[in-house]
Amino acid sequence: MAAGHGGVYREPMSWIKTVRDWQPTAHALAGLAAGALTAAVLGGLVIGWLAAAWSLVDGPTGGWELAWFYGAVVLAGPVLLLWAIYGLAALQRERFRAVLRVEIAAPPRAPGSGLLRPLRAWRAPATWRQLGYHLLAMISGTAGGLLVVIFWSAPLLAVSYLTGGFGEGANAGIGVAVLGAAVVAGAMVWAAPWVARSVAEADQAGARALLGPSRNEELALRVESLARSRDEVVAATDAERRRIERDLHDGAQRRLVSLAMQLGMARASLGDDVPEPLRQVIEQAHDEATEALAELRQLVRGLHPAVLDDRGLDAALSGIAANAPLPVRLRVDAGARCAPAIEAVAYFVVSEALTNVAKHAGATRAEVTVERPGDRLRIVVADDGRGGATLESGGAAANGGGTGLRGLAQRAAAVDGTLTVDSPPGGPTRITVELPCGS
């Protein structure tokens, strides 16, 4: 039933039942006080400023000190006014929050810092909107508050009217007057909550339009918050992968090496008199353990290459290039290192791109180049294969992202990078990825 939920016109009239029903009234009264305060502060500032300016222009009557004082006031005036606007706006928002339980977000602060901020702030639309609200509050806030006061105090007014009007009243009129006053007063009190709610609604409409952020500003705030949370997710995934790599390295990989080693020792110590089935079993077990070891190593490398942290992209990429089934020429421009998450994306891009080349391109050689133009990282993977690659190619169709060129493009986009594919049918193919280096 509190104002702010549903239109007041649609709701049935209801009387005061709970504390919440008092909110619009309290809000209107607070608005009255706030309006008065706003008038006092803004009015005082403006008048003071004008007076100082006028004195300066007219010629200071006092000594030089007075002139400096007036000058200071004139200069400081706009800044003080700015503070007053924002301060009063915050006060009004607090009024809405505390009394009416309505949240109105503050518009984003003006950009810039230090001395330039006051100047920029005067150019921000938010400042003028808030000033508009204050002007409105001075007039309509006061008016609305008075209206609410009048309606609630209708009985008192009626009584004072009746007693005042009575001195020597006509007898015939007394009954009518009393009845009339009673009826009017009663109706007014009965309607008071509705009046209070209407005033609160109107005030709220004004406040939302003027005290809060505009649609554009709201969108900008939202974009900022989304970008921040996106960055957090990217960093968290990266950290998670590293953790898994470390755990696998310290746990499963070690055990598997030990297992394979023991099986190897068993195999090596088999004498000639060992029955054939036993020999076969042991040999097979050893071979499988060795393969499992190799696979696990590939998996762990695919998760996160530890060498990337230790020695950088240069070293990590030479590992992939060496493992590729076709000759790969690698050229890495040494430069300052990029953020770990960025280097990880670069690593996976090269890894996946080379896998694609090996699987689909029918190429005889490939070339991987990594450069650092400015503060961007550019990776180019080129091959002399049959071309025809598009963003949809590579990876399994059912592979919901992460592999395939589209998956790579997404990965690049997640760190604000780009991926372009230049692959005419007949070849050659050239995949270019550009990433911001990050800090």
Partner: protein, 213 residues
């Protein structure tokens, strides 16, 4: 042959000790970090030290750095470095200090017991043992293109030479005749403009220098 083992995983340390013991080596000390390794080497003067790359406290490249110290301070001690993943940068660091009695292998290789023991004996005897994966990485990074002049077979032989194998080892690996291997080797040296040399580790040096290690 007296060996010192440095490996921080208790499981692997025990396994290696057993493996080396069975293989005819005498394990005089088994430690779990770089400091203890250096102390043990100074104290026991083994023939060879088997060192894990990643050890406490930072678990990055303590092993390599310790190996370099050993190479400098104890030239009579051979060093074999084991790593969970091979990194040509580490290999380059190692080889910059010495090119004989040194080895760098993927930890997985210990599962191939006979090969591993052969490599260890080779290193202890003053030869080299480089993991084939490291050699591939080096090949990939070469700046020069003369490698294009080599036939695929010759590239294979080049890789085996870089791994530290002797002519006999290459003969076994490729299953060709020793004279064929000699021919490949001399072709390689000619095509790459390298001075021919018979001594194994010098030719490893030459090959690696060529590969830009």
């Amino acid at each position: 042959m007296r060996v010192v083992i440095a490996e921080d995983s208790v499981l692997l340390q025990a396994g290696l000790t057993r493996l080396l013991g069975d293989g005819g080596f005498e394990v005089v000390a088994a430690v779990g970090d770089a400091e203890s390794l250096l102390r043990a080497v100074t104290e026991h003067r083994p023939d060879v030290a088997v060192v894990d790359v990643r050890m406490p406290p930072t678990h990055t490249d303590e092993g390599i750095r310790a190996a370099l110290v050993i190479a400098r301070q104890h030239p009579e001690v051979a060093v074999l470095v084991l790593s969970q993943y091979v990194e040509e940068r580490y290999a380059t660091d190692l080889l910059s200090e010495r090119t004989s009695a040194v080895g760098y292998l993927l930890k997985d290789r210990v599962a191939q017991v006979t090969d591993f023991l052969d490599a260890l004996r080779r290193v202890a005897a003053g030869g080299t043992a480089l993991d084939p994966e490291v050699v591939s990485q080096l090949l990939v990074r070469r700046r020069a293109d003369p490698l294009d002049r080599l036939t695929p077979r010759e590239v294979q032989v080049l890789q085996l030479m870089a791994e530290g194998r002797s002519n006999n080892g290459i003969t076994e690996a490729l299953r060709v005749s020793p004279s064929a291997v000699e021919k490949y080797v001399s072709n390689i040296f000619t095509k790459l403009d390298l001075a021919p040399t018979d001594i194994d580790h010098r030719r490893v040096l030459a090959v690696l220098r060529f590969l830009g290690a």
